[in-house]
């Protein structure tokens, strides 16, 4: 194979390449090596035998983390078709030693940690004024550094991002991905490809070194030196046929060995960190490039298909697409599948390809099976191309950091997982109880209902939360499957909530999630949710839905800190304001249309929304919004064809806000109750206007008189029709209010006749000294008041 190095052979592969995997298995069968060295963290060596366990089902990932600092981790995912995975299985079958040979993660993570610490201290020096944008990009950086850099990672601006592009352009392809796909992945699987890869990558590296001699990644020299040292070690131990499996990029520098001294010098004095490793279940969605995983592949499901379906992948794939479409109740006949296969093959021929690739198959499926409609292809993309596949790890794998984090949190908060039901009463003013509440809310968000919140129990203040706790061993399984979202509860819940937010269809689901995220003290998730909320709000044509989304947002903005959570406090308040700004503007534009032609039920609902929005605006105290809202209400009050309930309520809201002069309100009441208005409409108006509080009626003489005139003017028939509504309105008032009104009705006629209420001044004066005493007024003022009272 590689004649210059008879003792060891280098196989340059692409991570997660099915064609590579197939060629590699063939090559290993031919070589019969006595040891395998694989690019990967040496900390995982001890875990390798677990890969053969029957309960281990890829996709899985080797997770290396710093137990003392769970924020620093590295993940090495494997699919069944990853060449490394196949190599590990080959070694376990052949019972030969297999080792990882990359830079140990104890150094790698330590270096990353140093860099991160440095960044944080730099940030601290820059000052506090950190905008949301900066924060987000910072977050993105972090994520990048967490996943292992792929051998083909970003590079200086002069060069193409993907070094394979150099080869691809030379071969007349658009980019390296396509080129590699066709030249390596989609072909049958022959061992001859590897020397060619080493040679090609050698040429690429030479060109790049000429253009820009600095290494593409500061860690690269360290990693490659470690790999060479591992190879030397294996040679020293006397192995005769060493197979070295590494990313194609590294292959050429492993073939040409510099002197061992150079490598030793490079590896001297590296920082160290305590690390641990374990297997975690992984998913194809996380393996996909779009999930942000650096060495990800574009289409994990397609690769699995290529791996498992060696003969006739085209026909099998399109048949699977047709089956999927049928499951979704879309027509897809066998005749169409035949036509799609023919179209895919013709397309491949026009493009000069030996067999159709994913691109041709997608185009054929869209054109023939979906009648040109791109929408069903999204389903294909989700279910087949990325594929929703979740791996599984054996139960005897070491515990995952997420689990460790939960256990640590349970210990700190002194909450034991017990299978017995146990009630708790948390006082949220107490830091421990607050943290306990947040923990339970987070677990609930992860679908681990350890604690159930009791709503409205005991009628205590908002500082109390009642919970019932009951642990179920199945929660652990659930927790392990959640490990792919993050290594601490906070990280995992945040990522999971962001994921759910992406799937939420209704605005209501989002506001619900937002409420829960606030309770669970997840400021990052709140940011993600508000962004999503903004996008959904823009699309929603339902004004009512929009209006119902405002109150939770207003609460978040205003009361985010009541629970002492970082809630809205940490989240840029400006972001919230922008969202609310857009939402309120949309509500105000859409409201007149939404309020026209409502039936009784709809009007009742609209009433609640109007009140909710009014309350929210009251909480927010934002002048522009309040003004816009009042203008809209004023316009709305004059709109004809408005339901009585809504019209009455609007009038009341405006009166309470002082936006309508009193005289105008009386005029409107008169208009609404005048004979021209149908009695039912008038009664609705009154219900809307008076709802909830009779005090207004008791204290406003003119309103009382107008109402009185209206009722007495009703004919017997109309009165009977209006009676149930009037009863409903009045029965909602408190008992003392009703009694006072009754008294007014009995005595009121006389008072109205007299024109003014008769006051017995002497009897009134007799009470004043006692009142003054109660209020603690001095006698002088009392005298002055009595004086003025007398003068009146």
């Amino acid at each position: 194979m590689n004649e210059s190095n008879p003792i060891y052979t280098v196989f340059g592969i692409r991570h997660h390449g099915p064609g590579c995997a197939r060629s590699l298995v063939a090559a290993l069968d031919a070589l019969q090596p006595d040891i395998l060295l694989i690019e990967g963290p040496p900390e995982g060596d001890a875990l390798l035998p677990l890969a053969a366990s029957p309960e281990m089902r890829p996709p899985v990932a080797l997770l290396v983390y710093a137990p003392d600092d769970p924020g620093h981790t590295a993940v090495f995912p494997f699919a069944a078709y990853s060449p490394e995975w196949q190599a590990i299985h080959y070694a376990l079958r052949a019972a030969i030693p297999v080792r990882f040979m990359d830079l140990p993660q104890k150094h790698w993570l330590a270096i990353k940690k140093q860099e991160a610490d440095q960044r944080i201290s730099e940030k601290a020096n820059e000052g506090e004024g950190e905008s949301a944008d900066q924060w987000i990009s910072e977050k993105a950086d972090q994520r990048e550094s967490e996943s292992p850099p792929l051998p083909l990672s970003p590079s200086p601006p002069l060069l193409p991002a993907d070094p394979l592009d150099l080869l691809a352009h030379a071969a007349g392809f658009e980019d390296g991905e396509h080129w590699w796909e066709q030249v390596v992945e989609e072909r049958g699987g022959d061992a001859e490809v590897f020397p060619a890869i080493v040679e090609a990558m050698g040429a690429v590296r030479a060109v790049i070194r000429e253009l820009d001699p600095t290494p593409r990644d500061a860690l690269e020299p360290l990693r490659e030196a470690t790999m060479r040292q591992t190879i030397r070690q294996a040679q020293k131990e006397g192995f005769q046929r060493i197979a070295v499996i590494c990313g194609a990029w590294h292959a050429p520098v492993l073939v040409e060995m510099p002197s061992p001294k150079e490598d030793q010098a490079v590896l001297k004095g590296l920082p160290k960190l305590k690390v641990a490793a374990t297997w975690v279940p992984w998913s194809y969605a996380h393996l996909a490039y779009e999930s942000g995983y650096g060495a990800g592949v574009v289409s994990p499901g397609w690769y699995e298909h290529l791996w498992s379906e060696r003969n006739e992948p085209t026909a099998h794939w399109l048949a699977r697409v047709a089956g999927l479409l049928r499951d979704a109740d879309l027509d897809a006949s066998s005749a169409q599948v035949i036509d799609a296969v023919r179209l895919a093959e013709t397309l491949a021929a026009i493009r000069g390809r030996a067999r159709p690739g994913l691109e041709e198959l997608n185009e054929a499926a869209q054109t023939v099976l979906c009648f040109g409609d791109p929408l069903p292809l999204k389903l294909v993309r989700r279910r087949l191309i990325v594929a929703e596949k979740l791996g599984q790890v054996p139960p005897d794998a070491p515990i995952v950091p997420l689990q460790a984090d939960l256990e640590a949190t349970q210990r700190t908060l002194r909450l034991k997982p017990e299978t017995e039901r146990k009630p708790y009463d948390f006082d949220l003013r107490n830091a421990t109880d607050l943290a306990r509440s947040a923990l339970l809310h987070r677990l609930n968000l992860l679908d681990i209902p350890w604690g159930k919140a009791q709503h409205g129990g005991g009628g205590r203040g908002t500082f109390h939360e009642l919970w019932t706790l009951q642990w179920d061993p199945a929660f652990t399984v659930r927790l392990v499957s959640m490990a792919r979202w993050g290594n601490t509860l906070e990280q995992a819940t945040t990522a999971y909530v962001a994921h759910m937010a992406g799937q939420a269809a209704a605005l209501g689901d989002l506001t619900d999630l937002l409420d829960r995220a606030l309770l669970a003290d997840l400021p990052d998730a709140v940011v993600a949710l508000t962004t999503q909320l903004q996008a959904q709000a823009a699309l929603s044509g339902d004004v009512a839905e929009l209006m119902s989304a405002v109150p939770p947002l207003a609460r978040a903005l205003r009361y985010g800190t009541v629970r002492q959570t970082s809630g809205a406090g940490a989240v840029d308040a400006a972001a919230f304001e922008t969202i609310l700004d857009g939402m309120i503007a949309r509500v105000c534009i859409g409201l007149p249309l939404a309020c026209s032609s409502l039936d009784d039920d709809a009007a009742g609902k609209m009433l609640k929304h109007l009140e909710g929005l009014q309350d929210s605006l009251g909480i927010l105290q934002h002048d522009t919004w309040t003004m816009l809202w009042q203008e809209t209400l004023l316009k709305l009050a004059d709109q004809s064809g408005l339901h009585g309930l809504v019209a009455g309520r609007i009038c009341r809201l405006l009166l309470d806000a002082g936006a309508l002069p009193h005289a105008d309100v009386t005029r409107r009441l008169g208009l609404a109750l005048s004979p021209g208005t149908p009695p039912l409409q008038a009664a609705h108006w009154l219900e809307g206007f008076l709802r909830g509080s009779g005090l207004l009626l008791l204290h406003d003489e003119t309103l009382w008189a107008t109402l009185d005139t209206w009722i007495t003017s009703l004919s017997a028939e109309d009165f009977v029709a209006a009676l149930p509504l009037l009863r409903r309105t009045f029965s909602a008032f408190s008992a003392p209010e009703r009694r006072q009104m009754g008294e007014r009705v009995v005595g009121g006629r006389r008072a109205a006749k007299d024109g003014e209420l008769a006051v017995d001044a002497t009897r009134a004066d007799a009470v004043l000294p006692l009142i003054a005493q109660l209020l603690g007024l001095n006698s002088q003022r009392k005298d002055a008041e009595t004086q003025s009272r007398k003068e009146k």
Partner: protein, 361 residues
Amino acid sequence: MENTLLRQHAEQQFAEELAALAEMDDRIRPPHWKLSPWAVATYLLGGKLANGFEVSAKYIGSRALVEIAVATLATDRALLLYGVPGTAKSWVSEHLAAAISGDSTLIVQGTAGTAEEAIRYGWNYAFLLTHGPSQDALIPSPVMRAMREGQIARVEELTRIPSDVQDALITILSEKALPIPELNAEVQAVKGFNIIATANNRDKGVNELSSALKRRFNTVILPTPATLEEEVSIVLTRSTALGRALELPAEAPAPAEVRRVVTIFRELRDGLTLDGKTKLKSPSGTLSTAEAISVVNSGLSMAGHFGDGKLHADNMAAGVTGAIVKDPVQDRVVWLEYLETVLKERDGWQDLYRACREIVE
């Protein structure tokens, strides 16, 4: 032919390019094709030939779509070009026919009144009455002629044709034969025959294809231009050319103004601002590139006849609003939301915002 024609067929206008392609084309040609599939795709998308001859681009857009269309015709399945009005469906169909058969004139225009005779065959009744039924009394339709000669037939606006008449195509497409029961004869299609149909998916009251017929077509949806730059350049060239043809007294439109119109149209059409930050509702109209061209043109006309000859915001406001607000209730809300949440805040767009706001109010 002297160039006195108002409009030339594609095969006349681009005869030189077609000849140059045929000369250079050494790839396999399907039976009766004038060019290989590769050369047909090159003819539509433009490019430089090995001998340095420059082929102009007829269709600016996705290469994959053109390749799918050509591959479809090569597999003997019929091609249905689908899309909103103003996305160059007929244009592509004409050029495909011209490149493949060298003849783009075998065409059936679909209307509500298109009869079966237009797709199958008709009779010369005078001849029929005097001499009785014979091949000579038969008037072949463009489709029948294409079948006999192994050429491409075009059906425009397929969905406008009544359903029962549409279904006459089923036998032609599946059996590749057209029976003539009156003469106890049939016409069998020669290799190379195929049909390109166009249909638009925005019109209401059209006759949806029966699933039997739909299944015999490969559907290619022609999208609106992919990038702002692409669309701006299309609008600029077309409106400048049209302005010259109509002899408008105004100056050519400033690219900046055209860019603003195209930006508004694209944002509303895609339901997303160009920076990708804000989602928007889309109005009921199509807001195609063709409509952007007409907005710019009417703006130019206003500026030329009533203004200072330069295109300003207030010349365009009415046109933009008219193109967007097709439904006086729903679209108005969409447009107002857009004005209030997007345009109002955008730097340097205040003139357009005020002008539009005045018209909507």
